[in-house]
Symmetry: C2
Subunit: 646 residues, 2 copies
Amino acid sequence: LVAVWRTAVAFAPVPRITWEHGEVGLVKFHEPGIFNYSSLLMSEDKDTLYVGAREAVFAVNALDISEKQHEVYWKVSEDKKSKCAEKGKSKQTECLNYIRVLQPLSSTSLYVCGTNAFQPTCDHLNLTSFKFLGKSEDGKGRCPFDPAHSYTSVMVGGELYSGTSYNFLGSEPIISRNSSHSPLRTEYAIPWLNEPSFVFADVIHKSPDGTEAEDDKVYFFFTEVSVEYEFVFKLMIPRVARVCKGDQGGLRTLQKKWTSFLKARLICSRPDSGLVFNILQDVFVLRAPGLKEPVFYAVFTPQLNNVGLSAVCAYTLSTVEAVFSRGKYMQSATVEQSHTKWVRYNGPVPTPRPGACIDSEARAANYTSSLNLPDKTLQFVKDHPLMDDSVTPIDNRPKLIKKDVNYTQIVVDRTQALDGTFYDVMFLSTDRGALHKAVILAKEVHVVEETQLFQDFEPVLSLLLSSKKGRKFVYAGSNSGVVQAPLAFCGKHSSCEDCVLARDPYCAWSPAIKACVTLHQAEGSSRGWIQDMSGDTSSCLDKSKESFHQHFFKHGGTAELKCFQKSNLARVVWKFQNGELKAVSPKYGFVGRKHLLIFNLSDGDSGVYQCLSEERVRNKTVSQLLAKHILEVKMVARIPPSPTSQ
Amino acid sequence: LVAVWRTAVAFAPVPRITWEHGEVGLVKFHEPGIFNYSSLLMSEDKDTLYVGAREAVFAVNALDISEKQHEVYWKVSEDKKSKCAEKGKSKQTECLNYIRVLQPLSSTSLYVCGTNAFQPTCDHLNLTSFKFLGKSEDGKGRCPFDPAHSYTSVMVGGELYSGTSYNFLGSEPIISRNSSHSPLRTEYAIPWLNEPSFVFADVIHKSPDGTEAEDDKVYFFFTEVSVEYEFVFKLMIPRVARVCKGDQGGLRTLQKKWTSFLKARLICSRPDSGLVFNILQDVFVLRAPGLKEPVFYAVFTPQLNNVGLSAVCAYTLSTVEAVFSRGKYMQSATVEQSHTKWVRYNGPVPTPRPGACIDSEARAANYTSSLNLPDKTLQFVKDHPLMDDSVTPIDNRPKLIKKDVNYTQIVVDRTQALDGTFYDVMFLSTDRGALHKAVILAKEVHVVEETQLFQDFEPVLSLLLSSKKGRKFVYAGSNSGVVQAPLAFCGKHSSCEDCVLARDPYCAWSPAIKACVTLHQAEGSSRGWIQDMSGDTSSCLDKSKESFHQHFFKHGGTAELKCFQKSNLARVVWKFQNGELKAVSPKYGFVGRKHLLIFNLSDGDSGVYQCLSEERVRNKTVSQLLAKHILEVKMVARIPPSPTSQ
């Protein structure tokens, strides 16, 4: 009768500020009649943002995306549309050309692929003329057939690495390299890829000094059906896989297949609370000059019992590398003739190590290319693509867990606060068109603000960060268009207290101009500026932004006294003659928990009413006077109707 | 970049009515200084409720539990308390005597066990003198050492069957029969019990005609660590186990151990939504004259990602029976020397069937007792106590899924509505002191009402139903006391519409006395009574309960017009001169979403205001007029202050 396992937990760091759509300055781009703005590509040199949508590609000014520079359409012919419809697909939605690959090919051209009414096709887009070259390459394996299927790709040295499905049904998954001299692909076998949903791919170049990594490596992130775990129904598992750029495939075994394909589990969980995040939504690679190594930031949701939970886990490159280069492998074993179980492989591992890139050691042993790797090594990697060791996140736990939200995309900006400290600011988009900006302060998550990017609460499909000095923006694509947002809305904070309480690493208070300024935009010296990431407002000497009102009311009437406070973390307190008022009927009431109502006015209600906000920051309460109202209740004969307070 | 697995779902059938503590008539029992009222036992003949608490047992009048009939204390001696404290336990909380077993032994005595400062002890309580006999039996294996450990027990034919832990640490789980002539217990081995948390036990007697079941069977319900499933961390799994009453143990193999112990998985999940409920909280056996067979109602919460989810699944006795009597077994296999995996056993099964009760077939083959079962059968059941087949719920899915709540206990009352239809009414207690009453109507869950039983929002530890004709009550025990609640609050519905809209099978409207009456309490004929479980109010001819008010207000003032509506499913609509009012600032405002505020009154605001409630029931909207206000705005010189509406 005693319940031992009752560990319901609540993770809900509330965004401090909620900016409704239209409340802050956002720039929007959308072309009438064009939908599904799913692919974004930035040209930092040209200050141009390329946008791949359904049946169209656009070039817009990255500093003001409402300014369209070029456009090109790529429509499906009526003939093709009809053939697609004959196969049972929708002419209005599925049998169109969804741009899914938009990659830089050279300084003057882009590589573009679209679903093309279930006949995936690729072409080159000339950036000077902004016209397609009409190459009409077969896009099979580079771009999905079905716009509903998952895809990811990255261009490395003019060769496209992609993860998607290889057939009409979407039942044959593939990770491949599209290369004229050495095309490679994955085996079509459950141990290699088991109903994967591709999320992200990127290249990590070998270190310039050549000591550590001796080859460029391409990492793929996806969620697939687990072979190693079992529960009441099919379990999904998030994975990172990697291949080597120098891979040439095997000579006999694994001919034209990857010899360097290895994959491992990504762990993102909180065992103490029973939280398991096993559906990968997006990955961002954070690279920054001050950062020792790249860090993979990943957004997850749970597969099981997801009634609105998201998490962010971060993984260092070296943790991922270590699992592939030194970790144990898994093997499958047949139990009692009919069951396949995956367990740790404890036997001898062939040399060179299966799945390793060709490094100096291999070269010293005369293995100069994957083509002359011994059959034992190739057969082993063919049968054992899955590592037994898992990739564990930094600090062994999620950086952030948020309730009542489904995050879809992530970008991270590493920025320096006024005191020189670096902060990794996470920008997380939701399936309801919002953007959350979160930062870790003293090991706690602080969601600085939530911005409603899209009025119609549509899911954000793609997110792109541009963090060039003086041009820091987030770009978000949805079904209806693209939105450009600045990284901070410092100017919206009208008092020094508000500016400091925001605990936004981008914002500081300038006493000289009495304004909250954006660090990376402000000109001139930052001397005297006030910023305190612990929320300590004691340096604020400027008087608060309090508003002042005087009102006259008649006996027996009702007064409404207004008060404005944007912070969701603050409590509004009303004081009358310095005593706190409680919302006790029938005398007082609150409208929207902020504005005060006073019913049945009498002489005794005359006096000074103050609205204060109290915000708790690190166990300290910061009080701010927001408004002061002086009320005079008069027994009058015939004066004009008393004004309602504004 | 496309997220395929984003299946956040919201299950939240809102209770139609919320009764705050004190709003409805509840009877309470608690003794000053006594806590942890965890054990409840009803004597239907004597109309007495026995209550086991910490260091005390009480007998109270079941019709009015505030009336205490008897009390007896069972305190731990100072000496024992000190010894317990020396072992590192808390003198104030743990080293006390928590009553965990309270079972009927005969018509004049109870069997009582307590934790007794980590020295579990049992005694007989004479019901005539209400004194303990001072037997001081060793309670090991019947009652846990630690009040934090799980326990369950049931008295069958004067022998106590119990599930709990056998040692001080709580590390040795046991299901045992305390019997002088044939004590039996489980093997101490992981395949038998793996860190179980016991929840419930009950006996199902053999059918009187002796055709089907040929022995009484005792069923145990618990959650334990899974051996057959694996995920990122330890997975829990809910189980039902059963033993036969006629079991005598084996002669050599399984000597003094169960030869009939088998266990199986309980499934409670919604694969389409990724919902898995694997932590059992409580079980109730529904038996009723009209019911073909007993039904097990079970309350679950999820282990993984539980941010407030509960479910109810129901299992028929025959489904459970079928798994044990005809299901496949599981076997463990060693994979690659070091891994133990559990898979389906497909080999030959010995005869008589391992784990089966001694039935006529066994007897015909000369196996008259478990003592002469062949060694092959005994060795098999010793090694294969776990079934491969699972026990699936009625309709293959949960009867109820509720968000933002943790249910702790369940009782179910099968009741007949006015039209003769039977309804299984579920009473579910929460970890915040509330009771939900839920019923399935047209395949949808309808939570009739939520009652706050305990003011302090404490978890409900025990729940008991008494459904004797004319004495239907729910009793709930918590840390602070026991509460007695009627099964319905029909009298609180003041109009025919409200009475019918409640869709409460216990309630009907009597036009004769113009009141909502309780079916099982009302005297005389039910002719003319109105009840419609589909919420159709068209039979209601009595005029609605509308209230009527007249007000005079001055120019420029603010009016507050009140409206009362208890239903959480209804929307309140205000009409002025028959047009619907919207809460558009600055003219109108709402207080608590029900009362209307009219600001800055002028001549044009004079007129008739009506408050209506609209409640959607099965895609039909039922409208009720709740209040009518006539407002007159006057430009006055000197009249007394205008009254605020009440």
